[in-house]
Every structure is written in structure tokens, then in C-alpha cells.
Amino acid sequence: MYNLRSCCEVKMEIQSSLTAYKSLLESYGISGNLLGVFISLLVVVVTAVLWKLFFGGKAQRTGVLLAGLSDSGKTILFTQLISGVVKETHTSLKENEAQYIVEPNQGKTLTVVDLPGHEAIRLQYLEKYKDNARGIVFVVDSGSFQKNVKDVAEFLFQIFTDKQLNKIAPSICIACNKQDLFNSKTKTVILNQLEKELNTVRKTQSAALSSTSGGGEDSVFLGRKEEDFQFSHLSKFKIEFLECNAKPGLEESANVNLEELKMWISSLI
């Protein structure tokens, strides 16, 4: 009942506003054919806007973003996913974008975008592509994780507290790459370390949350205030940890292993 009433009200409002607009145009001396042209243009614009509003939902987003620190293996992962070939890579200056066919469901493709990881440009490219993000693969270098844990946590924090990403709520998976290295950490170790680090970072990055903040941006507080940070507290993003290895190593055991990652991507559809 409530819905019907609101619907009718909206319809009547649109009608009344249209007639008001028509009379306004006529008062300006525009009549006849030109009036028709104006009204049709108006209808086109309104329909386009409504279309975008209603159908700008999750079904439209087809992007899988590969994000992470510099030298974590994103571009090699990208070439492996797209072509199965390993190519030598250098620090990316620009994004790489290509279509990826999700295997079990034939014919459905997703756009995989490999964002550059260098600190100076990564936020710019994230801004550009986050609108189309259906899933984000955050690639972590498991070998040098201990050294870079603070930087990884800072970037993750920026992703988790981004307002638009909170609105879109893509699925996020944290891919612990370079598992072929002998000193690589497992995903549980990385998970625990990141939880501890993010617990500290959320306090230092949004420093005045217990007292009144003096304007500027109101950042989102991660997790629950009274408890230590845990990834399960982030209800909006579906976070998963997985291990992968994009480069074939010298030993037999260190082969390319992207099974978990490919399964996760196919679960996005």
C-alpha cells in the first residue's frame, strides 16, 4: 500500500512538473514544434539518468582490479591470467587492461585491470577504475612481507576507508603471491600480522576519533571501536585470503599455482 501510494504521488508530481514546465516554455514564446523538441530532449535526459541510477548496480560492474605494492607481482600475475605466458616485466607506469574469460561459465568475461603499484601514482589509477570494481585482488609479496608490512597495511587501510568503495562494496581477496620463495609466509601468518598492524594504523591515521574532529574529512573507522581489529569485523567487504604463485621456479614444487585465485574470480559471477 505504501509503495503504491508513493508511486502514484511520484507520478502525479512528474506530471504536474511537466505541465508546469510546458507552461513555462510557452510563456517564453516557444510553442508548437520547438516545444515538442524540448520535451522530447527532456524525456531522453531523464530516462538516461534513471537508467543509470537503476541499472548502475552491481550487474554493470565487470572489473577485477589487481592492486598492491610495487614489486609484488601484479603485472606477471596479469600476464599469466590473460595469456598463460610469463613475460619479463618492469615497474608499471600505466595500467594494463584486458578481457578475461571465466572458464567454467563459458562466454562470461570480466575486465582484469592491473594497476601500477608505485606510491605516487597508485591512488590516481585506483580513482579511475574503482567505479567499475566488482572485485579487488590485493597482491602481497609473501617473501618481503615482513619488511613491508607497514606499507601494505597503509594501502589496505586506504582501500578499506575509501568512501566510494564502501558504497560499491566489491569483494576483496588478499593474494599472498610469490609462494615459491623459501622464506614466504603463509596466509594465516600474513592475516594475523595484518590484523595487528591495521589495529595500530586505524588509530594513527584517524587520530582524533575519541575527541571531536575539527572538520575536514570524516573517515570511516575500521571494525569495531572497543575490540581489536579483525577482518571478520568488516561486514561490507567479503574478504578472503589465498595463496598463489605466478612465476615458474626452478624446482618442480615451485610451479605456477593460480588455482585458488581463478576459483575466486569465477565466484565473482
Binding site: 607497514k150 575539527g214 575536514g216 570524516d218
Partner: protein
Amino acid sequence: MLDFFSIFSKGGIVLWCYTFQGVKASFTEPINALIKTVLLQERGGTSHFTHGALQMQYKLDNEFELIFVVGYQKVLTLLYVDKLITDVHRDFRDRYRQKLLDGSLSWITLNFSYDNQFSILRSNAEVKGSKKVTTMRTFDKSEKSKKTIKSMTIDKNKDAKDAEIKKKTNSPKPEKAVKPSVEVPAVQPNVPESNNTLDPDAIARNREALAKRAAASKAKGKKTAPKKTGKSARVWQNGGNAKDAESLDRSGITNKDVLTNGHSHDDNVTAEQKNWVNTSSKIQDLEIDEDEILEEEEYEDEDEDVEEDMEEQANTKKSSGGIFSMFRGLVGSKALTKEALQPVLNSMRDHLIGKNVAADIAEKMCDSVANKLEGKMVGTFSTIASTVKQSLNESLVLILTPKRRVDILRDVLETQRAGKPYVITFCGVNGVGKSTNLAKICFWLMENGFRVMIAACDTFRAGAVEQLRTHKTRLHTLHPPSMHGGRDGVNLFEKGYGKDAAGIAMQAINAAREQRYDVVLVDTAGRMQDNEPLMRSLAKLITVNSPDLVLFVGEALVGNEAVDQLVKFNQALADYSNAENPRSIDGIVLTKFDTIDDKVGAAISMTYTTGQPIVFVGTGQSYPDLRRLNAKAVVHALLK
């Protein structure tokens, strides 16, 4: 001769790579250094780069988004490398044009078998390079044939006469007290230039000059004479006489001040200042023309209706872009040439200089943007000016975005865990605001619950220690020990004037460690960048104490000086330190930001010169006037 030649896309994927004589050393590391230092710091104007023993030359292809890099040993001077790169660029582009134009990265699987062609090109270039024999010019082409004989003959007699005349005009100088310096050099050049002997005109001119000088000195003598009788001694308030000694004495603790743990209480703390406590732990971003930024960023406002309106606006923009993008594909696109870019870049450079960016920095930036845009395809609906402006915008944001994590609170927590104090050193030239901003940062750290020790290592400037003591007293009043678990929130470590700054700093750090202070802020004396003994002592302070953060304090009003200051400071810290890895400046504090409206160019000059981020921005003279740099807002103000 070459070590390697690599062709890779801007997205990082290597298309083809050649290593000389099968040397399988991976050249990823020097190439990454090239990318990070040159291309990601907008120093792309020059095409050379040296990394250790390797010299690299590169060329950007902006049409297909490729980078061509050649590397060779620095000790070899190969003349044919320029030509080789250009030839390979042209040949590679023509050969694989079809495959590269296919946008869906289908060339990832392709194996570019370019080795044979490359060796042909290389041998061609080597041969042509060695053939560069320079032929002698013929006499007709030289400049000597164009001169007259008379101008070239040396007349020894004439020279002697010229020297005499010079002595005559010089001798009247020491007799007169006042010399109009403008006129003397005007007289002298006339004499040697004339080919003839001294003519009556020159004599008359000299006599006139003498007469003028005499008249000027006489006039000045007349002016000074009556003044002396009228002069009276000027009386300064609190001028330092024995009578004023009592009111000026701040060394002891007078009866008026209330004793609390050895700190005197400051009664002049106003209510407004008390309001700052517990509200200023977060540093806000700079606010520059927020309403204009709101148009671009859709999600600033919290009100839902306004948000939806913004969404609609943005969506209509997108949909209209969608309609025209159809047409953009139909109409042809043109490639940008350097000649077409030049006038736009010139106007952009002048605009930047008008916004207080240093002149050679603006020049380098425009060169780098030209390098990035040359050969790029643009649709006919977008003008050259808009493309250049957008590219410049991206470059400027790139420069202002920090290249490493800047989170001081996190680092302080880290050292707190290790049981050491976090040491921050402030250095800079005179009068930029080191002590003031030190007090502001101290307040911010105390707001976040840390205990701070201030080390007064400015032992030269009169009143420096008293200034810091006043700050300490006031901060102590605003943050009594009850807020820091019964212990002092702030303390001052000083040893008076005239002592060695490095020694004081070391003692301060040791004291802070014993008394469990979290941060030590070291205030140094202001010094000019070309004052060698002072730069030496600064380098010694930094080497001996190895602070966690060396901050250079620079004011936003500075123009071209900024580059000179920073270069010389960095150089001094590197040269005068005996350590193996000398410390250099880690961050910049930009002060007096409230005095410039939108002439924010100093920020660009400083970050471009050092490559280090701007950590704090000072926007006033009270404690909460501390901000964090907002790169987009600053660039927006810069390009307005």
C-alpha cells in the same frame, strides 16, 4: 659495446630485450631505477640517466605507449647511440604497427623476433658513427674573412695611449668621498673602443663627469653638516640599561609565577587557547576552494539528497560523454608535434612562474610534459591546450604525492615499542619559522598522547632558548601532567648559549631515553646555505645523533631561492658527513602558507628538487595552525 637494449610497454611488460653477447645479467634493477627516478619524478626532459657504472638512454613512444631503453658502460662514449635508438624506434613501430594498434594486448603472447633486424641496424649505426670525419672549413666560410683588416691590426702606440687615459680617469676617484658609480664605468668603455686617439669630445665628456662628481660630493657635504647639531640620542624602551634589568630578567623564578614541578605556570593563557586542547590531535587537510573541488568529486557531502543530485550531474556528464565518444571514434585523430605543443607549453610555463614556481623547475616540468605528449594521438574534439593542461595536472599531482609512507605517529609508536625516543631535527635558513612550527608539532604530538622533549640546540640567536622556554611553559599549562599519567608532557633541555649544538643534542636524547620521553624535537639555528662552517656543524649534528627524521623548514614565500637552499643543504649534508651513507633531508615543512593566496608554487619547487614529501604545512602562528598537504587542492589552485 652495448650492454642491453630493451623495449617495454608503459604498463611494464617487456616486448623485446637484447643482451650483448648473451650476458644474462638481469637488467631489471637499473631499468626500474630509471623508471622511478626519471619518469615517475617528472625529470623526463633529458634522455640520459646514469645508474652506477651504467649509462642509459631512453626514448618514449607516446603513440603506442612504449619505452625504448639502451644501456652501456659509462666509461665508453658511444656516439652512435642516439641514432641507433631513433632508427630502432622508427623501424620497430613501422614493422609491428598493426599488432600494436590492436588494443586488446594480444601482443602479450607474441614473440617479437627482432634480433636479426636489430643487429643489422646496430652495425649500420656503428659504421655511420665511425665515419663521422669532420672536414676543415674553407677560408671563405670562416668568420675571419668577413672582418676588415683595419679592425684586426694591433697598433702598439694606440694601446699605450689608451692605458694612460684609463689611469687619468681612475685617479680622481680616491680623492672624492662619494663616487656616482654609474658614471665611472660609462666613461671608461668609451676610451678603448675608439680606434682614433683621444678626441676633443672625449676630453669634454671626462671634464663633465669630473664636474658632476665634485658637485655631488659638495651637495652631500652640505646636507650632512646641519644634521649633526640637531641629533639627539634615541631612547629605547627596555633598552638594556641597568635600570631595566629587573623587568627584563627571565632567568630566575620570580614570586609572581606559581611553581609546578619546576615549571612556571603561564597566567596569560586565554580561554580561546584552552579550547585548543583535545581538539587538535588530528591534522586536517588544506582547504583551498572546496566548492570547486566539490564539482569534480561527487561524494564529499553527507546529505543524501545533495549526494543524489551530484550523482545525477555526474551521470549526465558521463552519458553525454558517451554520446560524443561515438563521434570521436568516427572523426580522425591527430598526432601532437613538438611545434604544436611549444606555444601552449610556453604559456603554461609562464603561468607556473607567475604562481611562484622556480623558473628552471617550471622549465624542466614543461620539457618533461612535452616528452610525454610528443607523438600522442588526440581526438579532434579535444584541444591541444586541454590535453597539455590535463597532462600537466597529472604530473604536478605526481610530484606532490609522497613517494613513501608518511605517518609520523605510526613511526613514533614503533620506536616507543623499542624503548627509544623518536628524534626529529629541524633545519633551515634564518627566519623561516623553525621554532614556531616546532612548538606546533609539539602540541600536536602531545594531543596524541606522546611526551615530548625539546632540545634547544640553537645556541646562537638571542632569545632562542627563552622563546622555547615560553612555549614549554604554555604547553605545560595547556597539557598538565594529569593528562599524561602524572608525568610531564613536555620538557625543555637547554644548556644556554655558545655551546656546541651537537653535544647538546646528544645529551638531550640520552636524557629523553632515561626519562622515557617519546619524541625529541631538536631546534637548530638558522643558517645561510653557503655558510660553510655552519653547514659543517649542522652536518656534524646530524651525523653524530642520527635522527629518525631530518625536516627542512622552508617558507612558502620563497621563490627561486628554494631550489638553491635545498640543493646546497642536501649537498652540505652529503659532503661534510664522514659516514658511509650520509643522511639527507627526509621531509619538508612548508611554513607561512597563510600569507600566499594561491601562489603555491614553492611547494612544487621544493618537492621537485629533493623528491621528498611535504610532511607539514604551517598556516599561522598559533598552536592548531598545522595542516597536512592536500595535493589535489594545491594543484587545483596552481593551475587555476
